[in-house]
C-alpha cells in the first residue's frame, strides 16, 4: 500500500518536472504566463487610473441673459464633471460645436427662462449630449441634475424667505425629507476600482487558458503523445497521473503569479481591499484548479496547433467579461446566458473575488460561487482525464 503510494508520487513528480521543463523551454508560454500577467494589469491600471472623466468641455447656448441663467451657467462650470468651454449666442453654433466634438454636451437656456422663473412657472433647460461613450452622457446628466437641484433649492428658498419665513423654516418647507446618499465600495464611481479587480482575475484565467492550449497544440502538432505519458504505466492509471501531474505543475507556477497579481498589485494600485486574505486564498485555490482543468480539457480536445486557439482570444475574452455579470447585472441576463456563464470558472471567480476584495464579503456570503468553483474543479478534472483518454486512443502517436 505504502509502496504503491510512493510509486504514484514519484510518477506524478516525473510528469510535473517534465511539464515544468516544457513550460520554461517554450518561448510563447513564458511570454503568456510571465510577461502578460506582469504587464497587462499595470498597463490597464495606468489607462484607467484617473478613474473618472473630469471637466468635460460643454457648450451653453444662452438665449436668455438674466441673473438666474448666469448663475446656472456659473454653477455648471463649478461642477467637477463639467467645464463650460463655449458660450454661444445661437443654436447653430452649439450644434456645430457638438458635431465637431469640441463640446461633449450642449445646454440650451431658452429665451423665456428668466421670465418664467419670475412668474413662478417651471422653466425648462434642454441638454443634448454625446453618447458615443456612456461616460459623456453620465457626466452631462449628473452634472446637469446636480446644478438643477441646487438651483431649485436656491430659487425655492428665495420664494419662501420673500414670503417672510425665517431661514430654518424655509429650509424645512423646501426639503421636508432629507435624502443622504452613500456610495458603497467605490465612492467616486471610478472606473479603475470597478474594472481592475475583475481584470486581474480575467488575466489569470485567460493566460492559463492560452498557455495550456499552446502547450497542448504544440504536443499535438509534433505528433507526440499528448503529454508524454511514461510508457511503463498502465493506461488508466497513467492518464490519471498525467492529469494530476500537469495540474500540480500549473498550480505551482500560478500560485506566485496569483499572489503577485491579487495581493501585491492591488496594494500598489491602492484599490479597495476590504476582504480577509484567508478568504481570498481559499477562493483562489478552487479558481486556479478549475481554470487549469477547464483549460486542459479544451486544450486536449480542440488545440491541434500551437497558434490556433490564440485566434479565438478576442471574442473569448470580451464575452467572458460580459458573462461575468459585472457589466450587465446577473438578474437581467437571459436565463440561457446566465446558465452558460457558469460553464466558465471566470464567472464565479470574478463574482467571488470582487465581492470579497472590493466589498468585504465573507466566504459564507459568496458560498454559491465557492461551491460552483469546486463543482467545476471536479467536473473538469473528470473531463480532462476523459479527453486525454480519447486522444490517446484515437490519435496516432510516437512517443519520443
Amino acid at each position: 500500500m505504502l509502496k504503491h503510494l510512493f510509486r504514484t508520487l514519484v510518477e506524478t513528480w516525473e510528469v510535473l518536472a517534465n511539464e515544468v521543463r516544457r513550460v520554461f523551454l517554450d518561448k510563447t508560454t513564458v511570454v503568456i504566463f510571465f510577461l502578460a500577467t506582469a504587464v497587462y494589469p499595470p498597463l490597464y491600471y495606468y489607462i484607467y487610473h484617473r478613474e473618472v472623466l473630469q471637466e468635460m468641455p460643454v457648450a451653453v447656448v444662452e438665449l436668455s441673459r438674466g441673473e438666474n441663467s448666469k448663475r446656472f451657467i456659473h454653477k455648471l462650470d463649478a461642477t467637477p464633471e463639467l467645464a463650460v468651454a463655449y458660450r454661444c449666442a445661437t443654436l447653430a453654433e452649439g450644434e456645430e460645436l457638438i458635431n465637431r466634438h469640441q463640446a461633449r454636451a450642449v445646454y440650451i437656456i431658452p429665451a423665456d427662462y428668466d421670465d418664467r422663473l419670475a412668474r413662478g412657472e417651471t422653466a425648462r433647460i434642454t441638454c443634448f449630449s454625446d453618447i458615443s461613450s456612456f461616460l459623456y452622457y453620465k457626466n452631462a446628466m449628473f452634472g446637469g441634475s446636480v446644478v438643477m437641484l441646487d438651483e431649485m433649492h436656491t430659487i425655492e428658498m428665495a420664494h419662501h424667505t420673500d414670503a417672510g419665513l425665517d431661514h430654518h423654516s424655509a429650509r424645512i418647507q423646501v426639503q421636508p425629507i432629507e435624502v443622504e446618499d452613500v456610495k458603497l465600495y467605490n465612492p467616486s464611481g471610478g472606473y479603475a476600482s470597478y474594472f481592475i479587480p475583475a481584470l486581474l482575475l480575467l488575466v489569470i484565467h485567460q493566460t492559463l487558458f492560452f498557455g495550456i492550449c499552446v502547450l497542448c497544440g504544440d504536443a499535438s502538432e509534433r505528433h507526440r503523445s499528448l503529454q508524454v505519458i511514461p510508457t511503463h504505466l498502465g493506461s488508466f492509471r497513467s492518464i490519471r497521473i498525467v492529469t494530476l501531474g500537469r495540474l500540480l505543475c500549473f498550480l505551482l507556477i500560478y500560485i506566485p503569479i496569483a499572489l503577485f497579481d491579487l495581493w501585491i498589485l492591488p496594494r500598489i494600485f491602492g484599490l479597495p481591499q476590504l476582504g480577509s486574505a484567508i478568504d481570498i486564498c481559499l477562493l483562489l485555490l478552487p479558481f486556479l484548479l478549475a481554470t487549469i482543468c477547464f483549460s486542459m480539457t479544451i486544450g486536449n480536445l480542440f488545440s491541434q496547433q500551437r497558434m490556433s486557439t490564440l485566434l479565438c482570444c478576442l471574442f473569448f475574452s470580451v464575452i467572458l467579461f460580459f458573462l461575468s455579470g459585472l457589466v450587465w447585472p446577473q438578474p437581467n441576463m437571459p436565463r440561457f446566458w446566465l446558465a452558460a456563464s457558469y460553464l466558465f470558472p471566470s464567472t464565479p471567480g470574478i463574482q467571488g473575488y470582487v465581492r470579497i476584495a472590493s466589498m468585504g464579503a465573507t466566504l459564507a456570503e459568496v458560498r454559491h460561487e465557492y461551491l460552483a468553483l469546486w463543482l467545476q474543479t471536479g467536473f473538469y478534472f473528470l473531463t480532462a482525464n476523459i479527453s486525454l483518454y480519447f486522444i490517446r486512443k484515437f490519435k496516432p502517436q510516437t512517443d519520443h
Binding site: 487610473h49 461616460l135 435624502v179 472606473y191 490564440l310 485566434l311
Partner: protein, 382 residues
C-alpha cells in the same frame, strides 16, 4: 500577386476549418451581444428597503419604487446588517434605510433624514439605481411639500412652479433611450470582425513560416515580398469586408438601429479599417522572429484595441501617453468615424482625418514585406 491570391484561395479550400470556426465565432458573438442586452437598459433591478419606521411613509416609498420600471423592491429588511449582507451576496444593488420615527418627524416639521446606499462595485447597476432612487427620494419630499402648499391654499397651477421651478431634459444624440443594445452592438461586433481580419492574416503568414513553406510562397510571388503579402491578405480583405457589410445590413436594417449618415461612406470606412488592421497584423508578424510569440503579441494588441478605441472609458480621460498610444489602433479611427456617421449623420467633411489616418497603415505593410524578405533571404532553404 494574382497567383499568390489563387494559391491562398486553394489553401483556404484545402483547410477551411479556421475560416469556418471564426465565422461561427463572429456569428455567435453577434447573437450573444444582441440577445444579452436586448432590454436596452437593465430593468427591474433588485433593491431593498430597511424599514425601521414601519409607517405610512415607508410603505408609500416601497410602492413608488415598485411603480418605476428600472428598479424593484425584492425585500424589506429589519436591520442595516441584513441589507448589507444581502448586498454582499449580490442579491440587491441598493437599499433605502428609513430610521425609526421618520414619519413623526415629517409631521412635526423636523426634516428627518433617510439614507440611500448604492453598490458602486457594479458600475452600471449601481449608477442606474442611484439615479432612479434619488429621484424617488426627492419626489417623496415633493409630495409632502405639495400637501403643505395645498393646505395653504396655493392654487394647483402654481404648485408645480413652486415645487419644481426648473426642469432639465437630457437628450442623448442618436440614441434617445440611452440603450446599451445600440451602444455595445455597433462597436463590439464590427470591432470583432476587424480584429479577426487582423488575427487571421497574421495567422496565415505565421503558418507559412512555421510550416516552412515560405520558399514556395516567394516562388509563386516571383520573389516580390510585397506581392506575396498583398496576395495573401486579399482573400481575407474581401471576406471580412463582406461580413462587415452583412452585419451592418442586419443591424441597421431589420434590427432598426439608427443610421443617420451615408451607407457608401460607412462601407468605405469598413474596408479601410479592415485593410489597416490587416496591415498592422502583417507588420507585427514580420517584425517578431518567432511566429507564435508574434501571434501572442498580435492577439494582445487586438484585445487592447477595445480599450484603446475609447468606447467604454473615453480616451480624453486617459493619461497623455495613452492618448498618443491610442493613435496606433485602427479600431480607434473606425470607432470615431462610425459614431459620426451613424449617430451624428456627419459627412466626409467631418471624418476625413480618420479616413486619412487609416490610409497611413498600409505603409506598415512595406516594413512587414521588407522584414519578410530579410527572413527569407537569411534562410532561403525553408
Amino acid at each position: 500577386m494574382k497567383r499568390v491570391f489563387y494559391r491562398e484561395l486553394r489553401r483556404i479550400r484545402r483547410k477551411p476549418r479556421y475560416t469556418i470556426i471564426l465565422t461561427v465565432g463572429i456569428a455567435l458573438s453577434f447573437i450573444f451581444f444582441a440577445t444579452m442586452t436586448s432590454e436596452g437598459q437593465p430593468q427591474e433591478l433588485p433593491v431593498a428597503v430597511v424599514d425601521l419606521d414601519g409607517s405610512y411613509l415607508s410603505r408609500r416609498l416601497c410602492h413608488e419604487i415598485n411603480a418605476t420600471q428600472a428598479v424593484n423592491v425584492v425585500a424589506v429588511y429589519g436591520s442595516h446588517g441584513e441589507a448589507r449582507s444581502a448586498m454582499q451576496q449580490g442579491k440587491i444593488f441598493a437599499f433605502y434605510e428609513i430610521p425609526n420615527g421618520t414619519y413623526n418627524e415629517v409631521l412635526q416639521f423636523h426634516a428627518p433624514k433617510i439614507v440611500l446606499y448604492t453598490n458602486q462595485s457594479y458600475l452600471l447597476a449601481g449608477s442606474l439605481c442611484y439615479k432612479q432612487l434619488t429621484t424617488i427620494g426627492k419626489l417623496a419630499g415633493g409630495a409632502v411639500q405639495r400637501e403643505v402648499l395645498r393646505k395653504k391654499g396655493v392654487d394647483e397651477d402654481q404648485i408645480m412652479g413652486r415645487i419644481q421651478p426648473i426642469a432639465l431634459d437630457t437628450h442623448p444624440i442618436g440614441n434617445s433611450k440611452g440603450s446599451y443594445h445600440l451602444y455595445l452592438l455597433t462597436i463590439l461586433v464590427p470591432g470583432i470582425i476587424i480584429l479577426m481580419a487582423m488575427l487571421q492574416t497574421a495567422y496565415v503568414i505565421g503558418r507559412e513560416r512555421q510550416e516552412e513553406t515560405l520558399r514556395g510562397l516567394m516562388r509563386v510571388a516571383r520573389g516580390n515580398a510585397l506581392h506575396a503579402l498583398v496576395g495573401k491578405m486579399l482573400p481575407y480583405t474581401m471576406y471580412y469586408t463582406l461580413l462587415m457589410l452583412l452585419c451592418s445590413l442586419i443591424m441597421f436594417g431589420p434590427m432598426h438601429l439608427p443610421m443617420e449618415g451615408s451607407w457608401p461612406l460607412l462601407m468605405l470606412l469598413s474596408l479601410l479599417s479592415v485593410v489597416a488592421a490587416q496591415c498592422a497584423g502583417c507588420f507585427l508578424m514580420g517584425c517578431v522572429p518567432d511566429p507564435s510569440v508574434a501571434m501572442s503579441l498580435t492577439s494582445a494588441y487586438g484585445t487592447l484595441a477595445f480599450t484603446m478605441c475609447g468606447f467604454s472609458f473615453p480616451v480624453d480621460a486617459m493619461p497623455l501617453p495613452m492618448q498618443t498610444f491610442s493613435l496606433l489602433f485602427p479600431l480607434r479611427y473606425y470607432f470615431l468615424a462610425m459614431r459620426d456617421i451613424t449617430l451624428f449623420g456627419n459627412g466626409i467633411g467631418y471624418i476625413w482625418p480618420q479616413l486619412c489616418s487609416l490610409l497611413l497603415f498600409p505603409l506598415l505593410l512595406l516594413i512587414g514585406a521588407a522584414m519578410l524578405r530579410r527572413q527569407y533571404e537569411r534562410r532561403p532553404q525553408c
